[in-house]
């Protein structure tokens, strides 16, 4: 096996990422990427709409999903303790990780203790968030991604650009290239003469990964849900790679964000209906695995692992929970419906968001989990037109536009936030002084009794300036005039027409 090279930096360490507008600008200028994204998002968008329309009680399911999540979050301490007790009683071991570093250390030690030096992985946002693969690599452990899209991204030394379909930015021809060139360096090479038909590509992945599944002794997964009442873990998937990882190895380590717990087994009936329709736009995804600790025989029947470890991950979630408006982001079930309908995501692509969580949900999640200190995180709340399409499709009714505006306030004006459990007051982000002054000036003007006078004076001034017929403005106005004409100025404001008519009427 050759050296493992992964291009995916750890979640908290994205300092090199440019602010969203610059990264998005590059993506917009890439016609291949634009075409890939447009085709993929429009395909899934329409399918989702049809899948959702089949259920007459969608609004009720959405409200119920929201209520379950809200209730759990409000009593998160109770449910985590209950979960811990249930998992332990079922033969599992529960670990608590306050941050990425601690979670990585726990997993690394667990793997090393088995004596193994490679693990197979089920696609998991949480382990990407903490940069687990890099941590394992540093400890001499090879981590193989087994989800088709994650495999493409890993083989291509690329970064994921979508929550559900991390390789959405690539078309079939590009995927074929990656397989043909890179598979051989990791294990079984791609078949000779590999074509770019998705069926052929899926077959190549099947052959390449099968040998890894059959020999794997340790697997790492996330989970879509954890049931407090029973200790049941749930993974939704399509390809069967999840089932391979969850049932064949001897040791299973699941790293799961603390917000994934729900109270009862019955609560799953809501999400089993809303998650597949929202994510892959299917009535039901091909495979869902539910396991409770080591099972009724405690692993004695050879059905599944003989050791199960659950690592409960905070990593900024409790800080997010402390924010009364922003905490609703923790309801997210990672379906990615918001990405697929977002017009900004469709043009900018996932990489522009500088995080494993792209799109609208990423724009409210990353600046909360990581804070708004970096340039990229301070720019994410503005990466939206507030068009509301994300909120409309969200199966747990996260009001993403509301949280975006709330986070804009934090960036522009500073204010109280919780970081690592401590309430602090942050200062406004850099680069907002001029905007703040302009907003204040505009407000003073608009709220002044002489506003109509100022309006007239301003229009006269602008009318004179317009005689110079500038097509492109310098400074901040450039952003507008680079692609648009300035509006034509009317002869007089509406209120002057009204006043004149009023005078005539009275006369």
């Amino acid at each position: 096996m050759t050296a493992i090279h992964l291009g995916m930096p750890a979640f908290p360490a994205f300092p090199a990422f440019p602010a969203f507008p610059a990264a998005a600008g590059k993506a917009v200028a890439d016609p291949v990427l634009r075409a890939n994204l447009r085709r993929a998002t429009h395909t899934i968008r329409d399918k989702r709409a049809r899948a959702v329309a089949e259920l007459a009680d969608w609004a009720e399911l959405r409200a119920a999903g929201k209520a379950v999540k809200d209730h759990t979050l409000r009593h998160l301490d109770r449910y985590l303790l209950e979960l811990e007790a249930s998992v332990t009683a079922a033969g599992g071991t529960v670990h608590w990780a306050a941050d990425a570093e601690e979670a990585n250390r726990i997993v690394t030690e667990l793997v090393l203790a088995t004596g193994e030096r490679e693990v197979v992985k089920v696609k998991s946002m949480a382990t990407q968030e903490i940069g687990l693969n890099e941590a394992l690599e540093a400890a001499g452990i090879a981590a193989y991604e087994t989800d088709l899209a994650e495999l493409i991204v890993q083989l291509g030394h690329d970064r994921p650009s979508h929550i559900l379909v991390p390789a959405i930015h690539l078309g079939r021809a590009e995927i074929r290239e990656v397989f043909a060139e890179e598979m051989g360096g990791w294990g079984r090479p791609a078949p000779e003469g590999l074509g770019d038909d998705p069926r052929e590509l899926a077959e190549a992945a099947r052959l390449h990964l099968r040998e890894k599944f059959l020999r794997a002794k340790v697997a790492v997964s996330g989970a879509n849900f954890m049931v407090a009442e029973t200790g049941t873990m749930v993974v939704f998937e399509s390809e069967g790679n999840g089932r391979m990882c969850l049932t064949l190895p001897e040791t299973l380590i699941s790293v799961v964000g603390i917000e994934k717990v729900i109270p009862t087994f019955r609560d799953l009936e809501i999400f089993l209906q809303t998650l597949p329709r929202s994510s892959t736009a299917e009535r039901m995804n091909p495979y869902t695995t539910m396991w409770t600790g080591l099972g009724p025989s405690k692993g004695a029947e050879g059905d599944g692992p003989t050791a199960f470890h659950l690592v409960l991950l905070d990593n900024g979630r409790t800080d997010t929970l402390a924010d009364e408006v922003g905490r609703q982001a923790l309801r997210c079930i990672r379906c990615s419906a918001c990405l697929n309908v977002c017009p900004v995501y469709e043009r900018a692509g996932g990489h522009a968001y500088g995080s494993v969580y792209p799109g609208p949900i990423g724009a409210i999640l990353s600046p909360q989990l990581r804070g708004t200190g970096s340039e990229i995180d301070a720019s994410l709340p503005y990466a939206s037109t507030l068009c509301g399409a994300c909120y409309e499709v969200c199966p747990v009714a996260i009001d993403i536009p509301e949280v975006l505006v709330h986070l804009r306030e934090r960036v522009a004006q500073g204010g109280p936030v919780t970081r690592e459990g401590i309430r602090v007051r942050i200062r406004p982000a850099h680069g907002h002084a001029a905007e703040r002054a302009a907003m204040r000036a505009a407000r003073l003007l608009l709220n002044h009794d002489d506003w109509p006078v100022a309006l007239r004076a301003g229009e006269r001034l602008l009318a004179r300036a317009r005689r110079l017929r500038p097509r492109r403005l310098p400074g901040p106005g450039r952003a507008w005039t680079d692609s648009r004409e300035l509006p034509e100025l009317p002869a007089q404001p509406f209120r002057d027409w009204w006043a004149a008519r009023d005078r005539e009427g009275r006369a």
Partner: protein
């Protein structure tokens, strides 16, 4: 301080505002007693968190025959091959034909599978043994199982490791899975109807069509790691 205590402490401080806030709506009265209260007094298993459950238990009124038809249609839409047969004798003949048509030389047999189901099958029978390695199972051509139940509205079969179903891996490694569903006894209409019938202590595998992926251009392709051929036999009573 352990990370466990640190995280729990942060949660209690974070939810101590006592206000519902836009993110957390108030729930049933008496639940908002405040952080740290009640969590250690044991969990009341009869507790309902006041979640509005006015969603439908089932999405249409159907006769048993209509439910079976819907199951067949939804399974087929996701590329499962659906067969119908009446009576155990007919089943044995059908399974024999399906295995022969597949060209299977070996078939995995879970403990508890009715013996006469495979009485007309030619392939070598491989019993599901705990000692079998994944490589050995991977070499088997087909597997025949029963199921715990099937859900018509979603085209789903659920396996729970009960008699005639075996360990989870035996329906995963062979490329050909034949699953027998007793109609109407094992068929429910909807997901909410299925939940009370399932025991979460048992390992549960929900299967809706063969292995598939949408990872290339978000378009669904059937057949990746799991069995690429799923045949579902709807077994009617005589």
């Amino acid at each position: 301080m352990s990370s466990r205590d640190r995280i729990l402490g942060r949660i209690r401080r974070a939810t101590a505002d006592g206000r519902p806030g836009p993110g957390l709506e108030p729930v049933a009265p008496g639940l908002d007693a405040g952080p740290g209260l009640g969590f250690d007094s044991g969990f009341d298993s009869g507790f309902d968190p006041g979640v509005p459950r006015d969603y439908l238990r089932v999405h249409a009124e159907r006769t048993p025959a209509e439910t079976a038809d819907l199951l067949a249609a939804n399974l087929a839409e996701y590329r499962a091959k659906v067969h119908r047969v009446v009576g155990e004798d007919g089943l044995a003949a059908l399974l024999g034909r399906l295995l022969a048509a597949r060209g299977a030389r070996s078939v995995l047999v879970p403990a508890g599978l009715p013996a006469h189901w495979l009485s007309a099958a030619a392939p070598v029978r491989v019993p599901d043994r705990a000692a079998s390695t994944p490589c050995e199972l991977d070499a088997v051509d087909s597997v025949v199982t029963g199921c715990a139940l099937a859900i018509a509205e979603t085209g789903t079969i659920v396996l729970d490791g009960g008699p005639g179903q075996g360990r989870r891996r035996i329906t995963l490694l062979p490329d050909h899975h034949i699953c027998v569903v007793r109609v109407p006894g094992q068929v429910v209409d909807s997901v909410p109807q299925a939940m009370p019938l399932l025991d979460p202590v048992r390992p549960l595998t929900w299967i809706s069509g063969p292995s598939a992926t949408s990872d290339i251009e978000l378009d669904r392709v059937e057949g990746v790691h799991g069995p690429r051929t799923l045949e579902v036999v709807l077994l009617g009573a005589q």
